[in-house]
């Protein structure tokens, strides 16, 4: 039966307050490279576009998780592919979501396990009475020809944690383990991670997974047979392969690891599969989610009645289905900066400057424009003087990021600098007033027409002189 509540009767004082996942969202990028392009098996891997990274994808997942929800009181971000090695990447996520500066943002990295570890910490924050946004994103690359390149995937996931009473998935129990071993590693100045012989990793980590999962189930008071789904995520698939037999699980209890459709999405992977499991779960379902890398995280959840009303706008399967699946291998290598290429005869992009970025932070990152309080004309970017009625300093801020828009007119620019020519640019008219001209992304150029409905997406436009330039683009609805 129920795990934690049953145990509560005897030792009420020592049991911490209950917490759970109150909302969630996911993100799988638009492009796929077929594994046969790598000469490596079946299926496809998901590929972040040339204008995406771990931060921008985490923002996309978090937007879905936060839609219509109150702002969280803490933010945790996990990745093994931080866009900046030094500079708080989580701060960019926070700003792009339009969250207040008063929120504590922290980030975890160094191992793919940190995605699920961050969720565990977020549940601790929630148990302490504060809500947290936990997000993870990863862009996974590997040395050309190796298994990390072909078996990895790119994606992001976000969870909001809060009190048990608001949970869509209540935490029943958990366990962790930390294992010091040389399994997957990368020096700061290196691009590609290395991995020790898989049989060794499996030998050490296999028992760690079995032990940690068993401990989490015991903590939850749940028998393996009572689990609706078990999520296995590991740096080394061999290491997780033994768990079903160790726990006596049936094949239908093991969640699809999205190997054929996404690939292993680094620190976001366990969460991404959990999000997909929640997309399909029924109230009462119990879920064990594990992540095995330099140790193990194991969380046991029970889905509540609230799940039906709290599902995000995009489900994981929806993201997976809305795709373009023919990206050429060499395009992918160029996008990731692995393959040098002949630049266009145009100037390299200029780095954005720190003071104007700071002055316009709410515009640049939160996509916050202004609306004239006198004549209601919308302005993107925000203006002090109304372009329509001339009123001075009578504007109120307004976020346009989640507002739909339509193409007023457009062009395909074959001359502009881009890693994916042509640049598609359009004049966008927003619902409720407001107009902005910007680039389109994840779009088939020949499909663009006046009147097309688009939505905004947070992107890394380019990196100029070592500075990432984040801003918004529009894309066809996915």
């Amino acid at each position: 039966m129920m795990g934690r509540p049953a145990r509560r009767a005897g030792e009420l004082a020592e049991v911490p307050p209950l917490a759970g996942i109150t909302r969630y969202g996911s993100y799988v990028p638009f492009h796929r490279v077929q594994r046969k392009a790598f000469g490596a098996g079946r299926g496809a891997r998901a590929v972040a576009s040339h204008d995406e990274d771990a931060v921008s994808m985490a923002v996309e997942a978090a937007r879905d998780a936060l839609r219509g929800a109150p702002a969280p009181q803490a933010l945790l971000f996990a990745t093994t592919s931080p866009p900046y090695a030094e500079k708080t990447n989580a701060a960019t996520v926070q700003a792009a979501l339009g969250l207040a500066e008063q929120i504590a943002s922290s980030e975890l990295g160094g191992s793919t396990r940190m995605g699920l570890a961050a969720l565990g910490l977020g549940l601790d924050v929630a148990a302490a009475g504060r809500s947290a946004l936990v997000c993870a994103g990863d862009v996974v690359i590997g040395a050309p020809g190796g298994p990390r390149e072909s078996q990895g995937g790119d994606g992001a996931v976000a969870f909001v944690t809060g009190p048990d009473g608001e949970a869509v998935a209540r935490l029943l129990g958990r366990a962790s383990a930390t294992t010091e071993l040389l399994d997957v590693w990368r020096l700061p100045e290196e691009r590609f991670a290395k991995q020790w012989e898989e049989r060794f990793g499996a030998e050490v980590l296999g028992p760690v997974l079995a032990e940690t999962a068993t401990r989490a189930l015991k903590d939850a008071g749940v028998e393996p047979t009572e689990l609706a789904q078990v999520i296995l995520d590991a740096t080394n698939p061999r290491a997780a392969a033994g768990l079903p037999r160790a726990l006596g699980l049936k094949p239908e209890q093991i969640a699809d690891g999205l190997e054929a459709s996404v690939g292993r999405a680094g620190a976001a992977h366990a969460g991404l599969v959990l999000a997909r499991t929640l997309d399909r779960a029924k109230p009462g379902d119990r879920i064990l989610v594990t992540s095995l890398a330099d140790g193990c995280e194991a969380l046991v959840f029970q889905v509540t009645e609230r799940i039906a009303s709290a599902r995000p706008h995009h489900g994981v399967d929806g993201w997976i289905a809305a795709k373009r699946d023919d990206l050429a291998y060499n395009s992918w290598l160029k996008w990731r900066g692995i393959l040098p290429f002949e630049p266009p005869r145009r100037p390299d992009p200029e780095r954005p400057a720190a003071p104007p970025m700071r002055r316009h932070e709410r515009w640049k990152l939160a996509f916050e424009g202004a609306r004239c309080t006198r004549c209601r004309t919308g302005h993107l970017p925000p203006q002090r003087v109304c372009s329509h009625c001339g009123a001075i300093d009578e504007m109120q801020p307004e976020r346009f990021a989640d507002r739909g828009c339509r193409v007023a007119t457009f062009t395909l620019d074959h001359l502009a600098y881009t890693l994916q020519p042509p640049v598609v640019a359009a004049v966008l008219d927003f619902e409720g007033g407001g107009r902005f001209t910007c680039e389109l992304t994840d779009v088939e150029p020949s499909s663009v027409a006046i009147g097309n409905e688009l939505e905004m997406t947070f992107r890394r436009l380019y990196t100029g002189q070592g500075v990432h330039n984040y801003f918004w683009k529009a894309r066809p609805r996915r």
Binding site: K364, L380, T411, P422, V423, R435
Partner: protein, 391 residues
């Protein structure tokens, strides 16, 4: 509050213009010397007769020193100014007001641009440091926004519109072929224009103006002094300029089939010059055909064609060199080339030749009033200059 104008109070009494093109062997200073030398000779004056200078350049140098050092000007005022692609016209406008005010007797407006040293395709602008959110569209992309909007609003199918803009390019190449100073001096078959590699939107390479180096200069005085320098001066009837709130970038009502700035500057110019029916009264025009669709839209903004009808006038040949209202008889930006700071004065140079009967194979029969139009920026957010000149 009024725009009073200086109709018939100021004359142009000498002009010079370098050939436009890829001057690998000349810098901005050389081009300035070439244009000014020709202008001095044209007005039959020594350089020292000029009291003050206005120098327009978008980015080929800074300050009046660019000109004074090249020409060794002896301690006289040189104003350097910039107003995007309308820079050359802006030099003339300010110079004309200086003599009209009585502050100086004889002044010179000079424009120059040296674009071909950058190593890049198309135009490159030096922007101040910014927040990285400005649209990164190239100039052809920004102007190509006009084409689908025009096609949709007036129910012209895209194939027909492509024919229309190709014919504009064809016409300007036919005109440029007759111009010894033009960058591109050969006719181009319509098929080749239509099938040229795409640059942006509906625009192929042949829908874009030439990127070139060049310089042009005008010598200006009060009308009563004009005959001291030449027996055939040309007189300024109107000078108008408009910069707006960039409303097209904010307001959903703006539909990318017009330039409000052009409409406003034309209305002002026509009022100053006493022009009531521009379609009938303007004998010829040099307009800012940075891209072919720009010229199409300008015909309507200037009142040369009714709204939604310019595409038919283009196909009918109304604006051809031998048509009833020639537009860009010198080849325009399209085939004469577009060295930014020089272009406005190059347009005036064609008026100078045509009104004096010196345009050779391009000569228009008995022109009365000519119009020059110079635009900087992009649809929805630009500056616009219009002049009307005559004998």
């Amino acid at each position: 509050m009024a725009s009073n104008g200086i109709r018939d109070r100021v004359a142009i009494v000498g002009m010079g213009c370098t050939p436009f093109g890829e001057h690998w062997d000349k810098g901005a200073d050389d081009l300035l010397v070439d244009a000014c030398k020709e202008a001095y000779a044209s007005a039959r004056i020594e350089p020292d007769a000029v009291d003050a200078y206005w120098l327009g350049t978008m980015g080929s140098g800074v300050s009046g020193l660019l000109l004074s050092e090249a020409l060794k000007i002896q301690y006289k005022p040189v104003t350097r100014l910039e107003n995007m692609c309308a820079t050359g016209s802006e030099a003339l406008r300010n110079a004309a007001y200086a003599v009209a005010s009585g502050a100086y007797d004889l002044v010179m407006a000079v424009g120059v641009e040296k674009l071909k040293d950058s190593g890049y395709s198309g135009l490159v602008s030096n922007r101040p440091p910014d927040d990285g959110t400005l649209p990164s569209m190239t100039a052809p992309a920004m102007f190509s926004l006009l084409a689908p909007a025009y096609a949709k609003k007036y129910g012209v199918d895209e194939g027909t519109l492509k024919d229309v803009i190709s014919r504009i390019a064809w016409k300007n190449h036919v005109n440029g072929a007759k111009n010894p100073k033009a960058q591109f001096r050969s006719e181009v078959p319509l098929d080749k224009i239509k099938n040229s590699p795409r640059v942006a939107g509906m625009f192929g390479v042949f829908d874009c103006s030439g990127v070139s180096d060049g310089s042009a200069a005008a010598i200006v005085c009060r009308a009563e002094d004009a005959h001291k320098y030449t027996d055939r001066p040309i007189f300024i009837k109107a000078l108008a300029f408009a910069a707006g709130p960039a409303e097209g970038f904010f307001n959903q009502d703006y539909d990318f089939t017009t330039f409000q700035e052009v409409v406003a500057s034309c209305q002002d110019a026509y009022r100053q010059a006493g022009v009531r029916n521009p379609r009938e009264e303007i004998s010829m025009a040099e307009v800012h055909d940075c891209f072919t669709a720009t010229e199409l839209v300008l015909m309507e903004d200037m009142g040369f064609s009714p709204r939604g009808q310019a595409w038919k006038d283009v196909l009918d040949g109304r604006f051809d060199g031998d048509g009833p209202q020639p537009v860009n008889p010198d080849g325009g930006l399209k085939s004469f080339g577009h060295p930014i700071g020089a272009s406005g004065l190059r347009m005036m140079y064609e008026m100078w030749l045509q009104l004096r009967g010196e345009a050779g194979k391009r000569q228009i029969r008995d022109p009365k009033l000519g119009l020059t139009h110079n635009l900087g920026g992009q649809p929805g957010r630009c500056v616009s200059f219009v002049s009307v000149v005559g004998r």
